[in-house]
Amino acid sequence: MAAKAAASARATGPLPAHADIAIVGAGIMGLGIAHNLALLGQRNIVVLDAHTLAWGASGRNGGGLRQQWSTEMNIRLMQESLEICGAFAQQVGINIWMRQGGYLFLARTKTTLERLERSVALQNRCDVPTRQISVDDVQAIVPEINVEPYVGACFNPTDAIVFPWPFLWGYARAAARRGVAIFTETPLTAIDRRGDDFVLTTPRGSLTAGRVICAAGAWSPEVARLAGGTLPDWPARHEILSTEPLKPFLKPMVSVLESGLYFSQSLRGEVVGGISQDDPRDSTVRMGSRLGFVEKLARGMIQVIPRLAEVKVVRQWAGPYDMSPDGTPIVGELPGVPGFFVCCGFSGHGFMMAPVVSRYYALALRGKEKHPLFDAWSAQRFAGGGIVGDGDGGNDGSGAPREDMIIG
């Protein structure tokens, strides 16, 4: 074949004997951390993944990027994440199919509306131009919506969607170009200690590592267990579907907070959507597709836009959310396992957070800058099996305010 020698993003051959930093998980978070570390001059980075690129949650999500959050930290982080995404195509050299059509949150009840109102005020203080709008305004934005069941909405025109897959090729290629070795289809079978180092064993051989970063999403608790640590997050199956491509008609991502329904039209023209399901808590990752999900989502989508009834479903699939007990991510050195760092527990929002979080994670590992997220999201809060207070979102001094805008 006359295929030109494009730079291979994937390492081949045997594992190196040693890595200064080994990253477990080649999703957007792990690759983002690797890329940013390499940009900051870190050498000798190895990324390991049990599967192929985009196989896990990074390749299975809806690609939504929103700044409508209820805590200042999340709002500001997502403002920065959007900026990074806006520049990504040019800096990394790949099209991420980004479309800034906004996010529209519909409220069925006054209670939800008031809940949204509180967040909008905070978002506006952070210069996010979210507006509380009437149902008439909703129809002006998306004329196809049947507004009858709703009492109001909020809309931020600067929220966006992307196509998730290219982020992985982009980060992987950029990282590989700077010397990061990415080994896919290389599952970890053991993590042992040898002096100050870790020994990582895989079917491909083993390597020693000075520091290990676990960015394995919903698989993180399994990885932590190999290292003799404990993580409190768990996997939750979330299903999603895609329709046939349609002419562009739907600008914003549409979401109903009460049911966890969301859908948007991608730049490929497909309508992509999901909805919360009431599953019992899983202990292992499960990704089977279910008919009950499509039925529930179909009813939800048709209720919002009746004309979608004739639109055809083309495919459905599932991916694991990495659920944290308090909905807040889990970062930093894992208590009891010095040198083993985690970046997980993003509870369904890790993809949109990764562009900015991976940058701050690299800055912290290089000792350049410690973003406040490392205190607010510290893995230390679970040390000793401590139970997290069920914070009500208030600032009562009992810890960080709890995020209210978690979908799913």
Partner: protein, 107 residues
């Protein structure tokens, strides 16, 4: 020439695109699917899976028989939302044997 040979008609994926994916280090069907988007359109790979698998085999030298097909996604054919909405919410249809990539090792 390879730029003009279309292997996946739903998503306009050419032989050149597949060769490019392989040259970039992505030679598994699951990877090529995600890298090129082949097999994600209305036919869901029913027309193109074999063609793409043969193209990967030619580019990598791997025997076609050694290649794992990608996970088949429901529904069987494009189906209107209206028909699903009319379904009796079956909550007990958990298809655990149909987890991604079948066998327990995730492949």
């Amino acid at each position: 020439m390879a730029k003009k040979i279309i292997l996946c008609r739903c998503e306009d994926v050419t032989l050149h695109d597949v060769n490019n994916a392989v040259a970039s280090g992505f030679g598994e069907l699951e990877e090529v699917k995600r890298y090129t988007g082949f097999g994600t359109g209305p036919c869901q790979g029913k027309e193109c899976l074999r063609e793409v698998a043969l193209a990967i085999a030619a580019a990598t030298g791997k025997p076609p028989a050694a290649m794992q097909p990608f996970t088949t996604r429901p529904p069987l054919c494009p189906t209107p939302l209206r028909l699903f909405a009319a379904g009796a919410a079956s909550t007990d249809d958990d298809d655990d044997d149909d987890d991604d990539n079948g066998s327990g090792d995730g492949r």
